[in-house]
C-alpha cells in the first residue's frame, strides 16, 4: 500500500520534534451493500475510503492527525501535525529500521469483488419471498447484503511493520408483522470474516422465514413481567451478556482510570466457578477475528476469567508498553481517522456439562431468552442492560408463551456469581458492532445455554 522507504521517512518526520514513539496506520477500505425494502431492491451502494492516521507519543501525551492524501507531501504534513504535541521536546535524529511482512493474503475463498452484483442482489429477493410466504400477517420485509474488504498497513518507530487484508460478509433480514395487537418485528442476521462462500453454509431463505416467524410469534406475545426472575439464555443467543456484564470492565484503559468495577481484582473469585471467559481474535472466520490488531500485533487468545477467577485484562499496545507486559492484541480502531483503544474481539463463555433441555426442565418459573439484542454497560458501577428480542415464559419447567420485547438489567459482578448452571451446547451468536467512545468495531460473542438465578426484567406486567 505504501513504499517502506516512504514510511520510514514519515516516521522520521513524526519524531523530529522529540516524540518518543511514532506510528503510521494506512488503510484502504472498500465496501458494497445492497438493500431491499418494500419488495424492491432500492439501492446498491459502493464505498471507498483510503488514508492514513499518524500518531506521535511523548510521555503520556498522544498527538494524532489523519489524511486521505497518501502522497509523500500529504503524509509528511500529517506527521508534522501529529508531532505538534512534542514541540517542547528536544528532538534529534532517530533511526528506524522496519522489518516484518507488510502485506498478507486474505484467508477467504471467494473475494466479494469477484462476485457479480446480480448474484448479490438475487439473495435479497429470495429472502424477501421466503419471509413473505411465512404467513399472511407479514406486512413488510427489508433485507441487507453487505461486504467489505479492509487492507491495513501498520509501521512504528520500534521497527514493527505488518499488514492485514480483512474481508467480511454479512446478511440480515427484518420482517414486520401486523395483527390485532399492533405491529411486531423479527430479525435474523449472519456474518463472518469470509467472502461470498458465507452463503455455502447459510440459507438466506431460511433466514427470511426465521425473521418472519419471530415477528408473527410476537403478535401473540404477552407483556414481559416486571421484576426479578430466573433467566435461561439459549446458546448463541446471549453472548452479549458477557460482553456487557464484564467484557468492557476488563478493558485496561477503563481499569487504569478506575472506571471499572473490576479494577484491582486480579486473582479474585469474581464469578461463579462455572464461568471461564475467553476473548479470542484468532477463531477462524469469526466476526471479530483478525490476523493483526490495528497496532500491528498478531491476534491472540486471552483467558480473562478461569473457573470464576479473574486472570487478566485486555490491553492495547501503549498501555501494555507502559506496564511492561506482553501485548494482548486488543488495540483496535474504527478507521484510519480514529485513535486505537482497547477493544474486544470474539468474547465467549466456554462450554459446561449440562444438557440444555434439562436446564429448562429444572427451572419451575422464569424467562427463556432465545435471542438478545444489543446492550449497554456503565463500567464504573457494573450496571448493564440488554434487550430481549425473542423470549418466552418458562412455566413448570416448560417453555410456554412468547413475551414482548423488554430490557433485562443487572449488575456485572453480581450476575456473574448468579450463573448456576451452564450447558454443553456452545454456539457463537450473530455478528455485532461494539460502540465505545464513538467508535464502532465488529465483534463476536458466544455461549452455551446457561441460567442466571435472578435478573431484573423490565416489562410492564405485574
Amino acid at each position: 500500500m505504501l513504499d517502506p522507504s516512504l514510511v520510514t521517512d514519515v516516521l522520521h518526520t513524526a519524531l523530529r520534534t522529540g516524540g518518543e514513539f511514532a506510528e503510521v496506520f494506512a488503510e484502504d477500505a472498500r465496501s458494497s451493500t445492497a438493500r431491499l425494502d418494500d419488495g424492491r431492491v432500492e439501492e446498491v451502494t459502493s464505498g471507498r475510503s483510503r488514508g492514513a492516521g499518524i500518531r506521535v507519543v511523548v510521555g503520556d501525551t498522544t498527538g494524532f492527525a489523519h489524511t486521505a492524501d497518501l502522497s509523500p507531501a500529504g503524509l509528511h504534513a500529517a506527521a508534522e501535525a501529529a508531532s505538534a504535541v512534542a514541540r517542547h521536546g528536544g528532538g534529534g535524529t532517530v533511526t528506524v529500521a522496519l522489518s516484518g511482512e507488510p502485506s498478507r493474503a486474505p484467508g477467504v475463498r471467494v473475494l466479494p469483488e469477484t462476485v457479480s452484483k446480480a448474484d448479490k442482489v438475487a439473495l435479497l429477493t429470495r429472502a424477501d419471498a421466503a419471509a413473505r410466504a411465512a404467513g399472511s400477517g407479514v406486512r413488510q420485509v427489508s433485507a441487507t447484503y453487505a461486504d467489505s474488504r479492509r487492507r491495513i498497513l501498520v509501521a512504528n518507530s520500534d521497527g514493527l511493520m505488518a499488514g492485514d487484508d480483512q474481508v467480511k460478509t454479512r446478511f440480515a433480514v427484518q420482517a414486520v408483522a401486523s395483527g390485532d395487537t399492533g405491529l411486531q418485528t423479527g430479525r435474523e442476521s449472519h456474518g463472518l470474516a469470509q467472502g461470498f462462500e458465507l452463503f455455502d453454509g447459510f440459507d438466506v431463505e431460511e433466514a427470511g422465514r426465521v425473521a418472519a416467524e419471530r415477528a408473527l410469534t410476537k403478535l401473540r406475545a404477552r407483556p414481559a413481567p416486571s421484576g426479578t426472575l430466573p433467566v435461561v439464555l439459549k446458546s448463541g443467543g446471549g453472548g452479549v451478556l458477557f460482553h456487557e456484564a464484564c467484557g468492557h470492565g476488563l478493558e485496561a484503559d477503563l481499569v487504569g482510570k478506575r472506571a471499572s468495577v473490576f479494577a484491582g481484582r486480579l486473582g479474585e473469585q469474581v464469578a461463579s466457578p462455572l464461568v471461564t471467559l475467553v476473548d479470542d481474535g484468532t477463531m477462524p472466520s469469526e466476526w471479530g477475528t483478525y490476523a493483526i490488531d490495528d497496532e500491528g500485533h498478531p491476534a491472540s487468545r486471552n483467558v480473562l476469567i478461569q473457573d470464576g477467577v479473574l486472570t487478566d485484562y485486555m490491553y492495547d499496545f501503549l498501555r501494555a508498553r507502559s506496564e511492561q507486559r506482553p501485548v494482548s492484541a486488543n488495540g483496535r480502531r474504527q478507521s484510519y481517522r480514529h485513535l486505537p483503544m482497547v477493544r474486544m474481539t470474539n468474547t465467549f463463555l466456554v462450554n459446561g456439562t449440562e444438557d440444555p433441555d434439562e436446564i429448562v426442565r429444572q427451572t419451575p418459573h422464569g424467562v427463556y431468552v432465545a435471542q438478545l439484542g444489543g446492550g449497554q454497560v456503565n463500567t464504573t458501577t457494573g450496571d448493564f442492560v440488554f434487550g430481549m428480542t425473542e423470549a418466552y415464559l418458562i412455566e413448570d419447567g416448560r417453555i410456554t408463551e412468547p413475551l414482548r420485547d423488554a430490557n433485562l438489567i443487572g449488575n456485572g459482578p453480581e450476575v456473574l456469581t448468579l450463573i448456576d448452571v451452564v450447558g454443553n451446547d456452545f454456539a457463537m451468536g450473530p455478528p455485532g458492532t461494539c460502540g465505545k467512545d464513538g467508535q464502532g468495531v465488529p465483534v463476536g460473542d458466544g455461549q452455551p445455554t446457561l441460567r442466571v438465578r435472578a435478573l431484573t426484567i423490565g416489562g410492564t406486567a405485574a
Binding site: A34, D37, D38, R40, V41, E42, E43, V44, T45, S46, G47, R48, S49, D60, T61, T62, G63, F64, A65, H66, T67, A68, V85, K117, A118, V121, Q140, V176, S178, G182, L183, Q184, T185, A224, S226, L254, K257, R258, R337, L339, G373, G374, G375, Q376, N378, T380, T381, D383, V385, G387, R404, D405, A406, N407, N411, T456, I457, G458, G459, T460
Partner: protein, 446 residues
C-alpha cells in the same frame, strides 16, 4: 478550503444524457483535545472530506461514495454509482429533488471566533475542565475523560435537476465524566456544554452537572417494582424524542413501520404535547440552511395539542405519499438520503423544573436512561430501558435508585404526558431537552 460547491458542480457536469446525477460534497475541520492527570492525553486534528454520488436512470437508483475529494476517485465513484443503478429495481417515485421555491433560511452558524481560537486555548480549556472537576468535590477520585472538541463543516449539493445549494455550520463542546466514590460506592457522571464558539461554553455548568449529578447517586439501591409518575430530566426527554422522531418519518409510515400510520388528525398524545421539527432555529445544533438533498430546511409541525399533524418527508417518500418534501432528508456523504427528524422540540410549558418536582407527592426523577437502542422497538412502540435517578417524595428529591428499568409503550407514554416544563434548551444530540412529567410508568426493580 476547496470550494465544495465547485466540486459538486463538476461531478454533476459529468452526467450522461438521460441520467440524473446528484453530488453531495462535504468538508470539515475538527479538533479534539482530551486532558488527563493535568496533562494532554491526546490532541487530534484533521480535515476530513468526502463525496456521495447518486445516479437515477429510469427509476433505478445507484449510489457510491468516497472519503476523498480527489477528482480521479470522484470519477470512479460516479462510474460505480451508474453501474449500481443497473441493479436496482425501478421505482416510479425514485428521483432527485427539484427546486421547490422555498428560500433557504438565513442563518449565521459560523462565528469568526472559532477559526480565530488558537489550539493552545483549546488545550487550556480541556485542562481547566479537568482541574475544575477534580476541585469541585472531595469525592471526585478520577476522570474518565475531559474533552474539548470542535468542528467546522460545509456541505454542497448539486443535481442535474437544478439543485445547487451550500450550507455551513460550526460547533464546539466540552464534556467531562467524573468518577466519584464514597463509602465503597462508585458512580460516574457526565457534564456537557456546547456552543457555536468557545466563548459560549459554560465550564462551571459542565463541571457542576457532571459532579453533582454523580454524587447524588452515591448509595443508590435497586427500587421496588411499581407503577409511578416519572419526571424525566431534560436530556432523557431528548433521547426519547429522538426515537419518536423515527416513528414520524414518512418513509416508515408508508412502509408500515410506524404505529402512527393512518392516524393524521387523530389524538395521539395528551393535550400538553406539541411537537415540531425546526432546524431553522439557529439555537439548535441541528440547524442548517439545506437538507441532505439541497432543499431549504424548514419548520414542520408534527403534533399540535396532542393531535397528529403530519409526517416528515424527503423527496422520494413525499412523492410516494403525494406530498412535497418537508426538507427533512438526512445524510452524510457515505449514505444516500433518508428521512430524518432534525431539531425536534416540544412546546414548553409554564412551570419550572423545581415547581414540577415540588408538586409531586410520590414518584421518581429519572436522571439517566440506558439501552435505548436495544430496549425501544420503534415499530411496535414497546419501550423498556435501564434507569437511574432519585425518588421524589412530598415534593422533594429523596433517596437515589439504580439497576432499575422503566417501561411502557411509546403510544401510552405520549398519552400519559402530564406536563412539559418551561426549561427548554437545545442539546448537542439533536432534540431539545426539557423536563417532562409522565404518569403511570412501570418501574422495574426488586
Amino acid at each position: 478550503m476547496n470550494d465544495v460547491a465547485g466540486i459538486a458542480a463538476l461531478v454533476v457536469s459529468w452526467a450522461h444524457p438521460g441520467e440524473d446525477v446528484e453530488a453531495y460534497v462535504s468538508r470539515s475541520r475538527t479538533t479534539n483535545v482530551r486532558a488527563y492527570n493535568g496533562d494532554v492525553e491526546s490532541l487530534s486534528s484533521a480535515e476530513p472530506a468526502g463525496a456521495g454520488v447518486r445516479v437515477v436512470v429510469g427509476g433505478r437508483q445507484g449510489f457510491a461514495w468516497a472519503g476523498t475529494l480527489d477528482e480521479g476517485v470522484l470519477k470512479e465513484a460516479l462510474e460505480e454509482a451508474r453501474d449500481n443503478a443497473a441493479f436496482g429495481q425501478p421505482d416510479e417515485f425514485a428521483g432527485l429533488a427539484t427546486p421547490d421555491g422555498v428560500a433557504l433560511p438565513v442563518l449565521d452558524l459560523v462565528p469568526s471566533e472559532l477559526a480565530a481560537t488558537p489550539t493552545s486555548a483549546k488545550v487550556e480549556l480541556a485542562l481547566e475542565l479537568e482541574r475544575a472537576t477534580r476541585a469541585r468535590d472531595a469525592r471526585v477520585t478520577g476522570i474518565r475523560a475531559a474533552t474539548y472538541a470542535d468542528s467546522y463543516g460545509e456541505v454542497a449539493v448539486a443535481t442535474t435537476t437544478g439543485i445547487s445549494a451550500v450550507g455551513a455550520a460550526a460547533m464546539c463542546y466540552i464534556a467531562v465524566s467524573p468518577i466519584v466514590e464514597a463509602d465503597g460506592d462508585t458512580q460516574i457522571g457526565s457534564g456537557l456544554s456546547a456552543a457555536r464558539a468557545p466563548s459560549g461554553l459554560d465550564l462551571d455548568r459542565a463541571v457542576t452537572d457532571g459532579v453533582d449529578r454523580a454524587v447524588r447517586l452515591l448509595g443508590a439501591r435497586k427500587p421496588p417494582s411499581r407503577r409511578v409518575t416519572a419526571v424525566f430530566d431534560p436530556d432523557v426527554t431528548a433521547e426519547f424524542l429522538a426515537i419518536l422522531g423515527g416513528t414520524l418519518s414518512g418513509d416508515a409510515v408508508l412502509k408500515g413501520r410506524s404505529f402512527f400510520a393512518g392516524r393524521e388528525g387523530e389524538r395521539v398524545a395528551s393535550a400538553a404535547v406539541t411537537l415540531v421539527s425546526d432546524p431553522t432555529d439557529a439555537g439548535s445544533f441541528d440547524a442548517g440552511q439545506i437538507d441532505g438533498e439541497g432543499l431549504a430546511r424548514r419548520r414542520v409541525p408534527l403534533i399540535e395539542g396532542g393531535h397528529l399533524q403530519g409526517f416528515l418527508y424527503d423527496t422520494a417518500s413525499g412523492r410516494r405519499a403525494g406530498r412535497a418534501s418537508t426538507g427533512s432528508a438526512s445524510r452524510g456523504y457515505s449514505s444516500a438520503p433518508t428521512v430524518g427528524a432534525p431539531a425536534l422540540t416540544l412546546a414548553p410549558g409554564t412551570r419550572s423544573r423545581a415547581e414540577l418536582l415540588a408538586s409531586l407527592d410520590d414518584g421518581v426523577c429519572v436522571q439517566d436512561v440506558s439501552g435505548l437502542h436495544s430496549g425501544v422497538n420503534p415499530v411496535s412502540g414497546d419501550f423498556s430501558v435501564g434507569a437511574t435517578g432519585l425518588a421524589v417524595r412530598n415534593g422533594a428529591l429523596a433517596e437515589p435508585f439504580r439497576e432499575a428499568t422503566i417501561a411502557s409503550t411509546l403510544q401510552r407514554m405520549l398519552l400519559d404526558v402530564a406536563e412539559v416544563g418551561a426549561d427548554i434548551e437545545w442539546l448537542p444530540g439533536g432534540p431539545a431537552g426539557v423536563t417532562l412529567v409522565v404518569h403511570d410508568v412501570s418501574l422495574g426493580g426488586a
